[in-house]
């Protein structure tokens, strides 16, 4: 926390025969952030070549991606594991995947056959519906013409006992059999089907002793009494339903098929991933005829374990050279910078995400995560101070977290942040005595609602909106002062003496800011009539301003040059000085006043709730309840978002700008936890 891990640089030479065992130990310890040998000036040597790797990383990645894809059939995801349980050759894996994939495709092809049948049936139904009423259907059937080039119709009779057999026989073709009427032992029917199947239909009709001929007059009565067409439509619907059920069954079979292969897919995926990681590590190796050379950064606390591990894996046939960051920086003339490992407890990870979103702190400087957590939540609480609303936010955060518990880290961090913000709002709500805008419990600090509405807050010191604004200004001053202090610490750690003394957030900047605050409070305290005494102004503002003039000469002196006293150089010095002074004064003024938005949003929160209360009072009871419900929902959504964004903005632009240098490179060791590219990138 606060400071990132101390890094050590390792240059290792091992014998080629220990390639696999050394790779294995590097992966198992998973602490080395590798660097390509070519990037290190003192390691460049023409005799060194990149290590030739026999296995194809691309083929492995492709197979791994295919497994991920196939698992999607059953909505499954592979799980990372450290254990190697499968060890098939790439050829075997590829063959197996081809077989699995081919089987899946066959499932889909069977579904397509069924779909073609569904399509034909639905088209048949649509065509039938175009005939209109049953009478029209009968007339068309009697004429033996459908009126559509692809629809075939015929009327005739068959012995009633043969009808089920005929229906079964025609069932494999797209046909509909409508029994118009049954007289004696004969069933008089209309047969409809696709014209392209006409010959086949006729052949099957003949084998069922079908007698083509007109329908008897009773058939017309039977149909017009209500259901020739709808009977056929119902028949089609029934068939379509059956076919869709079959499709669903195949879908389930295909899912079950993949689920059944899960064990092999999971273990193979894991095996491929680990093999890819091996190759990834080996891609950083340079090789001579008999030796391998690699280098990278390792956090100091892991140095010993790795050192021992490599020596053991190489059976002592190795040469390990450790250097600290200062040595590397000096040797490479600052071209090689160590990576930054931010070490924050899990609970602070959502805030670490916010910091990383802005940038990674430069190596050796302060990791602002814990401070961001504190300032972010305080700001959010002041802007969104309602315990009821806070509880809703917390609940929403928990629900979202639970819903997406299987998703990656980032959504979880966001939901945790929402929960924290809810918690901050609850605390602030208790301090302000606000519960969904109601004062159900007395405030522990002061009544925010009462102040905004012009009543007594319960505290003498806070009687008007100006007092609330003043609180946030003080809060801003504390945040900015902390920023200046952190910049001073960072400058000392980096040995950047110029920045320490002369930067806007350095000693002189801070000095002027402190004097400026004093001056502003004295001036405001005297009802804008009196300024502090001349000696105070001279010492507080004049002296540091004058000292700032020395920035460039000192800078040049430290670089070994002497400052030129040419008129143009002196003129430039003055111009830069004036601009810098203006920037310091206007910048700090704007930065400080910017924190008034914290009060502004808090006041807006209360005002919105007051407005909804007034609207609810004017409406009948039921309407009033709905207004309050919707009003609360709107305030939670709108103000929650605004407060979240404004807190972030104040951290990024007012707090970070004082000390944070996001030019660092994040520490990314190759380990068993390393994520390899997936195929869902779109």
């Amino acid at each position: 926390m606060i400071l990132s891990s101390k890094m050590n640089h390792l240059t290792a030479v091992v014998t080629r025969t220990h390639l696999e065992s050394v790779t294995e130990i590097l992966l198992q310890t998973g602490v080395m952030d590798f660097i390509k040998t070519e990037e290190i000036p003192f390691l460049r040597d023409q005799r060194l070549q990149s290590l030739e790797i026999s296995e194809s990383a691309a083929r492995m990645a492709e197979s791994r991606l295919r497994i991920e894809t196939l698992l999607r059939t059953a909505d499954l995801l592979p799980v990372m594991s450290d254990e190697l349980t499968a060890n098939d050759t790439l050829d075997k894996i590829e063959k197996m995947l081809d077989a699995l994939s081919g089987e899946q495709q066959r499932f889909r092809d069977s579904q397509q056959d069924l779909q073609s049948e569904i399509n034909r049936l639905l088209d048949l139904k649509r065509q039938m519906e175009l005939f209109g009423d049953e009478k029209a259907l009968l007339e068309r059937a009697q004429q033996g013409m459908s009126g559509y080039s692809f629809l075939f119709m015929e009327t005739g009779s068959i012995e009633s006992r043969m009808l089920p057999g005929l229906e079964e026989s025609l069932g494999t073709l797209t046909t509909i059999v409508i029994e118009a009427v049954s007289i004696g032992k004969l069933s008089h029917c209309i047969i409809m089907g696709m014209k392209k199947d006409q010959n086949e239909i006729r052949r099957r009709l003949e084998s069922a002793s079908w007698q083509q001929g007109p329908l008897p007059p009773e058939a017309a009565a039977g149909l017009s009494s209500g259901n020739g067409n709808s009977r056929a439509a119902g028949d089609i619907d029934e068939k379509v339903k059956g076919l869709r059920e079959k499709q669903n069954k195949i879908k389930e079979e295909s899912r079950d098929y993949i689920s059944g292969k899960m064990e092999w897919l999971q273990s193979t995926w894991n095996d491929l991933r680990i093999r890819e990681l091996h190759l990834k590590i080996q891609s950083y190796f340079s090789a001579s005829e008999s030796c391998l050379l690699f280098n990278g950064w390792v956090p100091q606390e892991h140095r010993e374990a790795l050192d021992t591990g490599i020596k053991k894996a190489a059976q002592g046939h190795c040469l390990l050279e450790w250097h600290d960051t200062r040595w590397v920086e000096k040797t490479t003339e600052g071209k090689l910078t160590p990576p930054v490992e931010m070490k924050n407890p899990g609970a602070l990870r959502p805030f670490e995400m916010l910091v990383k979103n802005f940038g990674t702190p430069a190596y050796g400087t302060i990791d602002p995560t814990p401070l961001v957590a504190l300032s972010y939540l305080t700001m959010f609480g002041l802007m969104f101070g309602d315990a009821g609303h806070g509880l809703v936010l917390m609940l929403a955060g928990f629900l979202l977290f639970f819903r997406d518990r299987k998703k990656g880290k980032e959504p979880k961090y966001l939901y945790t942040l929402i929960i924290y913000c809810g918690g901050a709002a609850v605390i602030a709500g208790i301090l302000f005595g606000s519960w969904f805008g109601y004062g159900w419990f007395p405030p522990l600090w002061f009544n925010f609602h009462a102040v905004v509405e012009g009543h007594s807050s319960g505290r003498e010191a806070i009687s008007s909106i100006y007092d609330i604004l003043l609180i946030t200004i003080w809060f801003g001053i504390i945040v900015l002062a902390l920023g200046i202090l952190l910049n001073i610490v960072n400058s000392i750690r980096k040995r950047d003496w110029i920045s320490l003394v002369f930067s806007k957030s350095g000693i002189l900047g801070g000095w002027m800011y402190a004097a400026g605050i004093h001056t502003a409070f004295v001036f405001a305290g005297s009802s804008y009539k009196t300024m502090p005494s001349a000696p105070v102004l001279l010492l507080g503002l004049g002296l540091p301003a004058l000292l700032l003039l020395l920035k460039e000469p000192v800078e040049q002196a430290l670089e070994g040059h002497s400052f030129s006293l040419k008129p143009s150089s002196v003129m430039n010095l003055f111009m830069e000085w004036i601009v810098e002074l203006l920037e310091i004064f206007s910048g700090y003024l704007a930065n400080t006043l910017s924190f008034m938005r914290v009060a502004g949003l808090g006041i807006a929160h209360v005002s919105l709730m007051t407005a909804f209360f007034q609207m609810a009072d004017m409406a009948p009871p039921a309407g009033g309840f709905i207004i309050l419900l919707l009003g609360n929902a709107l305030v939670i959504a709108l103000e929650g978002l605004s407060a979240g964004i404004q807190s972030l903005r104040l951290n990024y632009y007012e707090f970070f700008s004082k000390y944070f240098n996001g030019t660092g490179r994040a520490y990314e060791p190759v380990s068993l936890k390393t994520r390899l590219g997936g195929n869902s990138e779109s």
């Binding site: 088209d123 692809f150 392209k196």
Partner: protein, 350 residues
């Protein structure tokens, strides 16, 4: 707030965000490499095309998934209309004419196959789109038309198509291979866009005409290459769709040759066009080349527009160009994968 700001701030922000979610080149490449359609569809599952996979998983039918995609694309235009003012909403209707025409073309092709070529069309009808885009087309009534004259009369009842089909009816034109009719419908589409452009402020108008002009030039170049073995150059020139970035008058000036027309047509596009002036290649290869070159030109021109004023119609038009390109490419890749797997026997229907 200025009118442009009010008109475009929300919609352009929405579309700009959506533009970031368009499929990346790397994704297409991986998709193309899938051994069969099922794997390709599974790749789409977590993307914005997940619905296609859902349909495919249920039906195993690529064409059904394609139909869904097309309907969704049309639906998106309609959804956008809810966030636009009257002028933009009207313009979206004009852009939707493209889909209305595509659907009409599909039905006419189907009618042509059924009535003129006497083919069985039952396998095709389920994939036809029946949704109303602009014209409340009654496909069953269209399919019931017994002759070309009846067909023209029927389609003339729709305002949008009256002029085109009355002309066909009066001149008793035969459909032949449908090419002329399809081109006349495209002509109608471009004419509608150009007319609608006149209602916009100059900045928007310029962008609309520029992008449409590019599309017209592309269509004209394809027409030229397709027709050159079949009809004289003068006639081809007469048949060019007006509104391209190189004016039709210019094209006809000087000595007429395929090369000179191509040269003049491509002059507004700088050096890119010269790639098409080489004599090598058969017409099909040249057409492919034209497509590739115009794709590249489109990418460059749209990138230029995107760098300029964000409160113009440019972002909307570019989004549609890119989105429809994405849908087209996706469908083409999926069909290619299916075809490839059938040939190689790694899946698909045999």
């Amino acid at each position: 707030m200025s009118k442009a700001l009010t008109r475009y701030s929300f919609i352009n922000a929405k579309l700009k965000t959506r533009m970031d979610f368009l499929l990346k080149e790397n994704f297409y490449k991986k998709l193309e490499d899938r051994p069969n359609l099922n794997e390709a569809m599974l790749m789409l599952k977590p993307s914005s095309y997940g619905l296609m996979e859902k349909i495919y998983e249920q039906t195993g039918d690529l064409k059904m998934a394609e139909k869904e995609l097309r309907e969704k694309e049309i639906g998106f235009y309609k959804e956008l209309k809810r966030h636009t003012d009257e002028l933009l909403s009207g313009f979206l209707d004009v852009l939707l004419v493209k889909y209305d025409i595509e659907i009409l073309k599909d039905w006419i092709r189907l009618w042509f196959d059924s009535r003129i070529r006497k083919r069985d069309i039952s396998a095709l009808t389920p994939y036809m789109i029946r949704m109303k885009v602009i014209t409340p087309l009654d496909p069953d009534a269209l399919m019931a038309c017994g002759s070309e004259e009846e067909l023209y009369a029927f389609i003339s009842t729709y305002d949008l198509y009256r002029d085109v089909f009355e002309q066909y009816r009066e001149q008793k034109k035969a459909l032949n291979n449908l090419y002329d009719l399809e081109r006349d419908l495209d002509r109608l589409r471009f004419q509608k866009i150009r007319e609608a452009a006149a209602n916009f402020p100059d900045k928007d108008k310029e962008i609309i005409l520029k992008l449409t002009g590019m599309e017209i030039d592309f269509e004209n170049m394809l027409h030229l290459l397709r027709m050159i073995p079949l009809m004289p150059l003068e006639q081809i020139l007469e048949d060019m769709i007006p509104g391209g970035r190189s004016s039709a008058g210019e094209l006809g000036r000087g000595k007429l040759s395929e090369k000179s027309i191509l040269e003049k047509s491509l002059s507004p596009y700088g050096s890119m066009g010269t790639l098409l002036l080489r004599d090598e290649g058969n017409p099909r290869q040249k057409m492919e080349m034209i497509e590739a070159v115009f794709d590249e030109i489109k990418t460059r021109e749209t990138a230029k527009i995107l760098r300029r004023d964000p409160f113009t119609i440019g972002i909307m038009l570019i989004y549609f160009i890119r989105k429809s390109g994405e849908c087209r490419r996706l469908v083409s890749i999926l069909n290619k994968v299916q075809y490839k797997s059938q040939i190689m026997g790694t899946g698909g229907l045999t």
